[in-house]
Amino acid sequence: MNSKAANNVATGVIYLLVTAVVGILIFLLGYILITGVPHVSIHFITSAAESFRAGGGIRDQLFNSLYLLVLTLIISFPIALGSGIYLSEYAPHNWFTGLIRTAIEVLSSLPSVVVGLFGYLLFVIKFNLGFSILAGAIALTFFNLPLLTRSIEESLEDVPNLQREAGLSLGLSRWKTITGIVFPAALPGILTGIILSAGRVFGEAAALIYTAGQSAPTVSYTNWNPFSAASFLNPMRPAETLAVHIWKVNTEGVTPDALQISSGASAVLIVVILLFNLAARFLGNWAFKKMTAAK
């Protein structure tokens, strides 16, 4: 076989693999959407869940998922950014850096239930946070950090050294070079990392059962005082997220329409993630154009 033929065969194989993956994706998404979308209605999205009657909705769970995501990102993004900057810009190439990297990667392989119980014993009980969105957000930070740190580090490293040298030769401090030149250039990559980790936050259930809890008390959406117990903004209230709700309905749900609720909620989850992806991508492009000279 000459190299031309090998090239054609290999290209064919790659196309075949891609087709297979696309097929799997279409099947999965199709399955979720086709089984779920017929059960989604305005009523479903805007009403509270029922514990045993049919006709319950997912309003609170949907909001909780979004709120938890925002809180988790507020906590984990700065830490991940700092660590990513350290690993890509400052870290010396020695065994210690290797150790830190290994430790971070091991962290990402912990089963969620272990992180959940750890969060429960430490944050919920010991730090007296109770079952709360805050405790859930801290537990999710454990999942988020490895992936986020890693992708931030990679995106920063992808920025050509030429750019750093240019910044330094203009007399900028190293820190200014990082924040003013390297970071904006790496922004699209960083955003992809955030989206990926956001997906994980949306889909996580096991770790939240023990931290954010699995009940959604009625909250008032007109109470904007985050310190009031009834407010929807209160980070100290227990909050069941959409993924936890899907899990609960599937495993112990006694409502007659448990199956419909679970497939409807899954479909809503997918659509929300899709919207989130699009929004983040749009924002990333906009910020990239705004912060750099790229047209």
């Binding site: 700092g82 350290y86 962290l107 392989s109 089963p111 969620s112 272990v114």
Partner: protein, 326 residues
């Protein structure tokens, strides 16, 4: 007099310059500040990792120190029933079936997923970046967000019956677990592989193509070689996800603490045993401690994998440099 005056003036001037040179400038302060922030962050991450490692280790070791279970019996025994005593009056805590199953499922899922992930990654980076980025990337990111429990239920209602019809048996087992995990780790391995392939400098490709190499030769001999460490890391992250995944696997693997006799018999992974058992045991008792020991094994296994693959990655990249020098 004048000479002295100008001398003192000069001295004052020199002092000013000296001061300016000796004392850190505003930029230096900024630099210190930035450096401090990034050091604080990494320390914080380190503390988080350490605290959770300490937590799992102390609890996991209790089985052996407090309940005096023989470590070897724990690792090589095949009977798992921590609430019961066997004929010798020893608790039945043999974790081998779970260790073997976890290992099989993880490695198989990664093995199956890697070619697909690489295919997609190469398509998106080398063959058709524009189409790939526009259509494939959002969908892959979407897949990460599907909750494990949804994967589990699709596995239970589609994959398990399919296997049952095709191969007989109940359909529950390592094969079903592998298929579900394969889909779950695909996005992780793909997106990290894409990153590492993208970071291969463009001039590598240009040089190879200029030498008359075909696209496949360039991909195979240059791009993939240069990206090997990154791809290996992608596989570790994928395996890590497979290792730690519980809810989905638990639904399709059958969850029976038996030694797997093939890909089709029900068996149980470390995580599925951990997840199902942890809520039903009391803290501080042997059944609970034994579950934490499973978590510890999980941790150590992923540590070993990590170190191993890191080592391979290092060797691989060094060889590349050597080759590219030649």
């Amino acid at each position: 007099m004048e000479g002295i005056k100008s001398e003192t003036e000069d001295k004052l001037k020199m002092d000013g310059i000296k001061k300016e040179l000796r004392n850190p400038s505003k930029a230096t302060h900024q630099d210190y500040f930035g450096k401090a922030i990034s050091y604080i962050c990494i320390t914080l991450v380190g503390c988080l990792v350490l605290s959770i490692l300490y937590f799992i280790t102390t609890r996991g070791v209790a089985t052996f120190t407090e309940n005096h279970v023989n470590l070897w019996a724990f690792l090589s025994g095949t009977n798992w029933n921590p609430g019961m005593l066997d004929s010798h009056g020893q608790p039945e805590v043999g974790a081998l079936p779970m260790i073997v199953t976890s290992f099989c499922v993880t490695v198989l899922a990664a093995l199956v997923a890697t070619p697909f992930a690489l295919g997609v990654a190469l398509f998106m980076t080398e063959i058709s970046p524009q189409k790939g980025t526009r259509f494939l990337q959002p969908v892959i990111e979407l897949l990460v967000g599907i909750p494990s429990v949804v994967y589990g239920f699709i596995g239970l209602s589609v994959i398990v019956p399919l296997i049952r019809h095709a191969f007989g048996g109940t359909g529950f087992g390592i094969l079903a677990g592998t298929i579900v995990l394969f889909v779950m780790v695909l996005p992780t391995i793909t997106s990290l592989s894409i990153d590492s392939i993208r970071s291969v400098p463009m001039y590598y490709r240009s040089a190879s193509l200029a030498l008359g190499a075909t696209r496949w030769q360039t991909i195979h001999k240059v791009v993939l070689r240069a990206a090997t460490p990154g791809i290996l890391t992608a596989i570790i992250f994928g395996m890590a996800r497979a290792f730690g995944e519980a809810l989905a696997v638990q639904m399709v693997i059958g969850n029976a603490t038996l030694m797997p006799h093939g890909l089709l018999t029900p068996s149980s992974t470390l995580t599925s045993q951990l997840t199902t058992g942890i809520g039903n045991t009391t803290m501080g008792t042997l059944p609970n401690n034994a579950l934490w020991s499973l978590a510890l094994i999980l941790l150590l296994m992923s540590l070993v994998f990590n170190v191993l693959v890191r080592f391979i990655g290092k060797r691989g990249s060094m060889k590349n440099e050597f080759k590219s020098c030649k």
